[in-house]
Structures are given as C-alpha cells and as structure tokens.
C-alpha cells in the first residue's frame, strides 16, 4: 500500500492544472529518418572503419614517434650530430634515383649491393638447406645418429658466426666462398634442429597408418614423413634465413668488395652518415620482407 492514494478525480485535477503543459494538438510527429549509422549497413560500415582505425593508427603513431625521436636526437647533436629524417630522406631520393650504376670495383649502385648480399644469403642458405634438411631427417629418424651429433651440434651452435670467417678465408683463400661459408655454417643449425625435432614428433598415429597399410619406405617418406615435418622445417628455414641476413652485413664489412655490409663500411670511411642510416633501413626492410614471405609460404603448409 502506498502512502498516497490518487483517485480518478484527483488525477484529472493534476492533468488539468496549469503546471502540466498539455500535449500539442498536432497528430503524431513526422517519422524521423533513421540516421545512417544506426542502420545495419551503417553499423557494418562504422565497424569496419573502426577496425581499419585500430589497425592503422597504432603503427602510424609508432613510426611518427620514432621519426620525432630521431629528429630530436639529431637536432640536439648540433652540426656534428646524426643527420635528421629530412636530410636522410633527401639523400635516399638521390641514392635510389640511380640504383644500378657500375663505376668499377668498390663503386656500384645500391641496387647492385643489395642484390649481391641477397645472392650470398640465397647461396649460403641454399647450401645449408641442402645439407641440413637431409641431416635433420636422419638425426630425427635414427636415435644413434642423434646421439652422435648432439655433442657436436651443442658445441658448434653457440659459436659467433664471424668466428668462422678466418677458417673460411684460410681454407678457401678467397673472400667470396669464405662469406658463403660463414652464412652456411651459421644458418645450418636451425634447419637441422627443427627438421630433426619435426621428424621425431611425427604423431604415432600416422606411423601406425603407415604400418597397417604396409607402405614402402619411399611412400612413408613422401606421404607421411615429409608432409608432417614440413611445418617444422619451414620454421627452421625461416629462422635460418633470418640468421643469414643478420650475418651477411657483418661478414661483408670484413670481406669487402660488394654487398650492403661492405657499402655500410665504405660509407663509414667516407663519413657519409646519411647513407649508413639508409643502409640500416634497407637491411631492416629486406629482413622484414623475407620474414613475411616465408611466413606466407609456411602458412600454406599448415594443415591444423
């Protein structure tokens, strides 16, 4: 029971009292068009805009902040400070205007240097894959071999890549095969280890299928072992190319001649700091592209 009871007549009094504004005499208000953002299409639209916003804004902001920081650092250094973003950008435009000139040894366009480095990475990594993949399969398949190789791999794997360069120079007497050797020896470990791990992790179910069907060794390899190991192998390849790209810059600094690493060192000798900064970006961008490309390939072989 409420404390105040309102009967019909008192309600009428309230309604008609001067304090309550009577409803306007006009009929129902004109139906207002639904605003676009409240319609279904509008909501989908605003959602996708939001998604785009969330995807684009943080990286753009990050890059902007980075450039700003760079600007502050270079400005605070005065005349002898690092070149700023604008100055570097101008130098880059000039540099990439003619990337493929060739003025004899030690003076080639940036394009040539990049291609030389990529070639070395490709060749050194290719050799590593050629040796590492079969070796990884064997280590994974044969316990005895795994036991044999384990101490050798554990010993050699942590060695800094550049420590291998003098050995290469001594054995091959030339810089080109020596730098390939460095790439080879430093990028082979991830391939071996990941392939071996992949082989030893082939699910027993799949191997049981092979046994029940009594498949030949070749069929076991092509239909079961290889496809099952492929994702692990791709991980190894990705890590291995990453290492190779890291190592090439350092190796070329020491061996000289051509390549992005040599170019960095050459520009250091010329005291062309803009070019060194550009080189850092080039190395970073190419490394990123290699990684993305291999990720795309790896996803193609992911069956889970």
């Amino acid at each position: 029971m409420s404390a105040v009871t309102i009967n019909e007549s008192s309600l009428k009094d309230i309604m008609n009292s001067p304090e309550t504004t009577p409803l306007p005499a006009t009929a129902a208000p004109k139906p207002r068009p639904v605003p676009f953002l409240e319609t279904e299409r509008g909501q989908a639209y605003s959602e996708s805009v939001g998604k785009l916003f969330r995807a684009v804004v943080p990286p753009v902001l990050g890059i902007a902040l980075f450039v700003l920081l760079w600007q502050i650092v270079s400005a605070s250094g005065g005349d002898t400070g690092l070149p700023g973003p604008a100055k570097t950008w101008e130098a880059a435009k000039l540099l990439f205007a003619d990337p493929f000139y060739d003025n004899g040894p030690n003076d080639k366009g940036i394009g040539w240097n990049i291609l030389h480095s990529l070639y070395r990475v490709g060749a050194g990594f290719g050799l590593a894959a050629l040796v590492g993949i079969p070796l990884g399969f064997m280590i994974g398949r044969f316990q005895f071999l795994a036991g044999m190789m384990a101490p050798v791999i554990s010993l050699l794997r942590p060695v800094s890549p550049l420590a291998w360069l003098p050995i290469g120079l001594y054995v091959f007497k030339e810089t080109e095969p020596a730098s390939l050797w460095v790439i080879f020896i430093s990028s082979i470990w991830p391939i071996i280890l990941n392939t071996a791990a992949g082989v030893s992790r082939v699910p027993q179910d799949y191997l049981n299928v092979a046994r029940v069907l009594n498949l030949s060794e070749w069929k076991i390899f092509t239909r079961i072992l290889f496809p099952s190991v492929l994702p692990h192998m791709m991980t190894g390849i990705r890590l291995s190319i990453g290492v190779a790209w890291l190592v090439i810059v350092a190796a070329e600094m020491l061996t000289g001649g051509t390549g992005i690493g040599f170019w960095v060192w050459d520009e250091w000798n010329n005291l062309n700091v803009e070019h060194i900064l550009i080189a850092i970006f080039i190395v970073g961008i190419i490394g990123l592209l290699l990684e993305q490309m291999l990720m795309l390939i790896a996803n193609r072989f992911n069956y889970e």
């Binding site: 179910d205 799949y206 049981n208 299928v209 046994r211 029940v212 069907l213 009594n214 498949l215 069929k219 239909r223 079961i224 496809p227 099952s228 069956y303 889970e304």
Partner: protein
C-alpha cells in the same frame, strides 16, 4: 566351419620402467568368417592390446595367432584397422586418404582408372560421395570416422578391426554410424572385431560379445552369443525382451562379477 581367425594361448607382456607388466594372458578365441565380434571390458583391460595383436602392431610374447591359417607376424593390409581417433592424414583429401590404401593393395595389378573407381566406391559405401575432395579438417568427426572405415574397407581386408571407432562421437552421430556399419557389414560380409565400452553398441552390432576381465593379466571372462535376428532395428530392439536380457547379462558381468576397484 573352420576357424578363420584363431588365437591360442596368447600372452602379452610389456617391458615398462617399473618392470614387466602382463597385459593379457591365456587368450583363446576362434572367429568364424563373416562373424561380428565385440570386445568389451573396463578401460585398461587390454582389449585394445588384443586388437593390436591381431592387427600386428604389437607382437605377442607367447601364443599363436592365425588368420586364415597364416601366422600373423606384423601389420598388413589384409587386416583393415579403423583407429579410435580416425588417424587420417590431414594433408590428403578424403579421396587421397582412401586412395593411399587402395594404391598399396591393388596398385601393382590394376589400372589407375580402376584404383580411382575403387576409392570412389569405398567413399560411396560410407555415404561420403559429396565430401570426396574435402580435407579432414573441413569435415565433422563422424565423417572423419566414415573415411577411416572407407579406408579400411577399400583394401578388401580379411578382417576389419575397429578400435572404439565411435567412442569420440556424440550419441546421435554414433547411432547413425552404428546403423551404417551394420549395413556395410551386411553388404560386404566382413569379418569384424570391434573394441567397445558401450554395452548397447556391443549387443546391437555383434554376433558374439567377448567380455574381458580386469587387468593386469586380463583374459577372456565370458563369451556371450547374441542370437538376435538380423537385420536388427534399434527401435524394435528397445521393446525386445531378449535384447534386454542380453544387455543385462553384459552389465552383470561388467558391474557385478568384474567391478573395477576405484583407483
């Protein structure tokens, strides 16, 4: 009638870290051609081990195992196995998975067109004509198990070995596949050995139910003949007193005579 599958005094001892473990002992079983046998027992009673012995995936420590008078020495395509977890190769399509088996068994003496025909026929038999070119990750659990059955049947095996094939499926899908399996076994006259822990499944499908005692050193406790007329219909059986009597006998064996001690 001669014994198609003959198991005599089979014993299986595993070497474990804690020493020898006797999983099975004194297993004696004779299966006639075309018979459907269900192996039932509590988990860990070694029913899957027994199936693996027949499959040749494990070799018996002692005893004799013969299939149509030949000794079982290792796995072979004349024994089609359907695994509990389907074990399809994810990088092959349904067709590819079945074709792998067909190719192995008939590849040497038949044309490529004939092999494809056999593969397709096996998929048709399990009602998967429409999913031929799908990969295992694109189909349901029940469909995967059908592909597993198709793969086993396509080899035209002497015996079909099913290791809890429907254990991982929901009740409705399971019922559908049980009916399907009854139809397939009727059409192909396959000799079948099926591991199950489902009493209804065992009574519905089999001619004889082999009930196993609890491990370690499990053995065959009782063998129950299921003389229900075929074709069997699950709805009609629900009203059938004989069905309930058989079901009761299995339950009695499992829960009174051989109740597993709570661990």
């Amino acid at each position: 009638m001669h014994n198609y599958l003959h198991i005599e005094n089979a014993k299986m001892v595993f070497d474990t870290k804690k020493g020898k473990f006797t999983a099975l002992t004194d297993i004696n079983l004779n299966v006639k051609q075309g018979e459907f046998i269900a192996l039932i027992g509590h988990s860990g009673c070694g029913k899957s081990t027994l199936l693996n012995l027949v499959a040749g995936l494990t070799v018996a420590t002692e005893g004799i195992l013969l299939l149509s008078e030949k000794e079982i020495k290792g796995p072979g395509p004349e024994r089609g196995v359907v695994f509990q977890n389907h074990s399809l190769l994810p990088w092959l399509t349904c067709f590819g998975n079945v074709h792998l088996a067909v190719e192995r068994v008939f590849g040497a003496k038949e044309s490529k067109a004939k092999l494809k025909e056999r593969t397709q026929a096996a998929l048709d038999l399990v009602g998967l004509s429409h999913a031929t070119h799908k990969h295992p990750n694109e189909i349901s659990g029940g469909m995967k198990q059908r592909v597993g059955i198709a793969r086993a049947l396509a080899m035209e095996p002497k015996v079909l070995l099913l290791d809890e094939p429907f254990g991982a499926l929901d009740a409705l899908t399971r019922a559908g596949l049980q009916d399907e399996l009854m139809r397939i076994v009727k059409e192909t006259h396959a000799t079948t050995l099926m591991v199950t822990h489902d009493v209804d499944e065992a009574v519905l499908l089999s001619d004889r139910i082999v009930m196993m005692t609890n491990g370690p050193a499990a053995t065959i406790g009782e063998i129950l003949s299921v003389d229900l007329p075929r074709p069997r219909d699950r709805l009609a059986l629900a009203e059938n007193p004989a069905y309930h009597h058989l079901r009761g006998q299995v339950l009695e064996f499992l829960y009174q005579k051989n109740l597993k001690q709570a661990a």
